[in-house]
């Protein structure tokens, strides 16, 4: 893996698809409480877009755009947000779903009984936790990928 990335074909295709991959990852996170997938899976999909960028453009092409310290900080924030959501329900019990069926705007709608197409605005803290996990996983895996790139680059120069 060189600093300058791969051929012009790969870079062009990457430019074309990486936005779509990120969008698909966000979709998987957003619909985690309705369809297969969720925070971890969606976060991994988004991180794969970062990994694709790393491979296609090399570390030189990424300079400044993905900062390791920022990624790590966002990762911590994701984990803390997850715990904070779990603490929301401590009045009843840890992880108690305070927002479900509250009728509010924030995922508080009630789901009708029987077969239905799925209510996106439902689930209470579950979709929010999906976002927290998604944030942690996408930044965490991206940080791992960047760290490995830095590590492999060092060995090349030695």
């Amino acid at each position: 893996m060189s600093n300058h990335g791969m051929s012009v074909i790969v870079r062009t295709v990457t430019r074309f698809v990486y936005g779509l991959i990120i969008l698909f990852g966000f979709y998987v996170i957003m619909h985690g409480h309705l369809t297969p997938g969720g925070g971890f899976q969606g976060g991994a999909v988004v991180a794969s877009a970062f990994a694709l960028l790393l491979v296609a453009f090399g570390s030189a092409g990424l300079k400044g755009r993905l900062n390791l310290h920022w990624l790590q900080s966002i990762e911590e924030v994701g984990a803390l947000a997850f715990l904070a959501l779990a603490f929301l329900g401590i009045g009843t019990a840890f992880f108690y779903n305070l927002l479900a069926n509250s009728g509010g705007f924030l995922f508080g709608a009630s789901v009708p009984a029987g077969a239905n197409a799925g209510v996106l605005n439902a689930g209470g803290t579950v979709p929010l936790m999906n976002w927290a996990v998604g944030l942690k996983v996408m930044t965490g895996i991206a940080a791992v990928a960047i760290t490995m790139l830095i590590g492999s680059k060092k060995e090349e120069t030695e």
């Binding site: 803390l80 715990l83 329900g89 009843t92 019990a93 840890f94």
Partner: protein, 518 residues
């Protein structure tokens, strides 16, 4: 106050987790802010563990905590089954929580000074708190799969901590070895849980325990659990990772790794007594445990005898002590069908030894860490005359060493004596091996103490001094534990050890009924 006690089981896990993820962020503000946060977290956790222990010991019955609760009241009634993740804390879990709190508290405060002049210590404290959270989780949970999750959390955190000093080649190797062995043990446990879940459709320990039939698949699951958890506890012949891990990890972490091994041992005891207590032949399984225990004691001590590396020597000593716990509880398990008087004594000895071992081994690791830091070497042949410069450290090391070897009036004697007595009743051979190994361990520490601390002051070691008060205070705290527990063993055996021993030995029905109803 009551709300705090109700939520204590989950707060014991949630607060260290919160601390673990907040540490790198708060650490950006500086070392003072980070140390305040970590210190606060371990203090709160220690307080909660004590609160929970008092509550459970006085109630005398297991406490149930339902994650995301509000739907069910416990015990359940009318054929209900537990579907949510439950935390179930009986006296044994609360007792283990006390051990973990003691080690986390002293380990964290020792670390503050130990890592003072090193970079990257934010990550160290993050992993330290993560490991603490995982250990508490293994001890509090009442759910097999949840137990596996916490087991994996401790595995990842522990392997990273062992390999934390990436600038050292041995540290990397030890970290990799620990990662491989812990993963293997985790897979064993996971496969066993899968076998049980496939048959009974339950993951809750109480619900599983009430349904186990003792079929061939159950026995295979038991074998996998026994192997996996004994591997993670560092029992011979699956111990090869333990000396590397304890030896190469930073000194305060070595103490927490011992607490981690004890948590696996707790999981093993929980599985043997509560989960399989009525569905397999406890006599046969007890003897398997006893054989493993004797091997662990003997191999651990004899390997310690030939070490020239101070940290590795203490590490092998720590391995051998795991064997004494297994011997005590194994004797209790072997006779648990007939429940004679000495069975409870054996359980008391084995369980009391967990607490005593945590204090002694923690003290020894702290003291050897201070010695290695001051002298700059781990080789006993290169040391000598350190007592001239390190008076207090040498006293701490000596107390820890004789206590671990089971010399009165220290705490190691109190618990080992109970084990000898009960093991003798089952078979004198067991007691002979146990006593002989203790004497050998004393020889090991006499050798180490003589080589490191005694003799004339050498020119190479002329500069050594006692460590800063930040490192001395945790050591002194553990010395106090060692001495007080040794001088008044009766009080502690009556008030905290006996309830824990009875919860394991006699409390199987109470554990199940607390969830499912009588």
């Amino acid at each position: 106050m009551t709300a705090l006690t109700t939520h204590a089981p989950v707060l014991l896990i949630a607060i260290p987790l919160l601390g673990a993820f907040a540490t790198p962020l708060i650490g950006k503000l500086g070392r003072g802010a980070r140390n305040t946060l970590v210190g606060l977290v371990v203090l709160v956790v220690a307080g909660l563990a004590a609160l929970l222990a008092v509550d459970v010991f006085t109630a005398g019955a297991p406490t149930i905590y339902e994650m995301g609760g509000g739907t069910f009241t416990f015990p359940l009634s009318g054929g209900q089954v537990p579907v949510r993740i439950l935390f179930e804390v009986d006296s044994m879990s609360a007792f283990m929580g006390l051990i973990t709190a003691l080690i986390a508290l002293t380990g964290a405060f020792f670390s503050f000074s130990y890592w003072k002049d090193r970079s990257g210590s934010n990550l160290y404290f993050s992993l330290f708190l993560l490991l603490t959270a995982g250990i508490f989780g293994m001890q509090m949970t009442g759910d097999m799969f949840n137990f596996f999750v916490f087991l994996e959390i401790t595995s990842i955190a522990a392997a990273s901590l062992v390999g934390f000093r990436v600038w050292l080649k041995q540290s990397q190797e030890a970290g990799f070895k620990v990662m491989a062995m812990y993963t293997l043990s985790g897979l064993f446990v996971l496969l066993a849980i899968g076998l049980l879940y496939g048959q009974y459709g339950h993951l809750n320990i109480a619900a599983l325990a009430s349904r186990l039939t003792g079929s061939l698949t159950d026995v295979i699951a038991l074998g996998l659990l026994l192997t996996g958890l004994a591997m993670k506890a560092g029992a011979v012949p699956m111990h090869m990772w333990a000396p590397d891990a304890y030896g190469e990890a930073p000194a305060p972490t070595s103490a927490v790794l011992v607490a981690n091994s004890q948590a696996s041992l707790y999981g093993l005891f929980r599985v043997l007594f509560t989960l399989f207590g009525a569905s397999v032949s406890t006599g046969a399984v007890g003897w398997i445990l006893i054989v493993l225990a004797l091997l662990t004691i003997f191999v651990g001590v004899t390997m310690a005898l030939i070490q020239n590396d101070l940290k590795r020597l203490v590490a092998y000593g720590a391995v051998s002590q795991i064997g004494y716990m297994m011997l005590g509880v194994g004797v209790g398990l072997a006779v648990s069908a007939t429940k004679p008087e000495f069975g409870l004594v054996a359980m008391q000895g084995g369980i009391f030894h967990m607490l005593n071992d945590a204090a002694c081994v923690g003290l020894l690791f702290f003291a050897s860490g201070a010695v290695i830091r001051a002298s700059g070497t781990r080789d006993l042949n290169a040391m000598g005359g350190l007592a001239h410069g390190m008076k207090w450290t040498s006293v701490c090391f000596a107390i820890g060493a004789v206590a671990l070897a089971g010399v009165p009036p220290f705490n190691g004697f109190a618990s080992k004596f109970l084990i000898y007595e009960a093991a003798f009743k089952l078979s004198p051979f067991l007691a002979v091996i146990a006593v002989l190994s203790s004497i050998l361990l004393l020889a090991v520490f006499v050798k180490a103490f003589q080589a490191a601390f005694l003799g004339p002051r050498t020119t190479a070691m002329a500069h050594v001094t006692d460590p800063s008060p930040g490192m001395m205070l945790p050591m002194v705290a553990l010395v106090l534990v060692v001495v007080v527990f040794g001088l008044f063993p009766g009080f502690f055996v009556d008030h905290i050890v006996t309830p824990a021993a009875k919860a394991l030995w006699l409390g199987r029905d109470a554990y199940i009924n607390a969830v499912l109803g009588g």
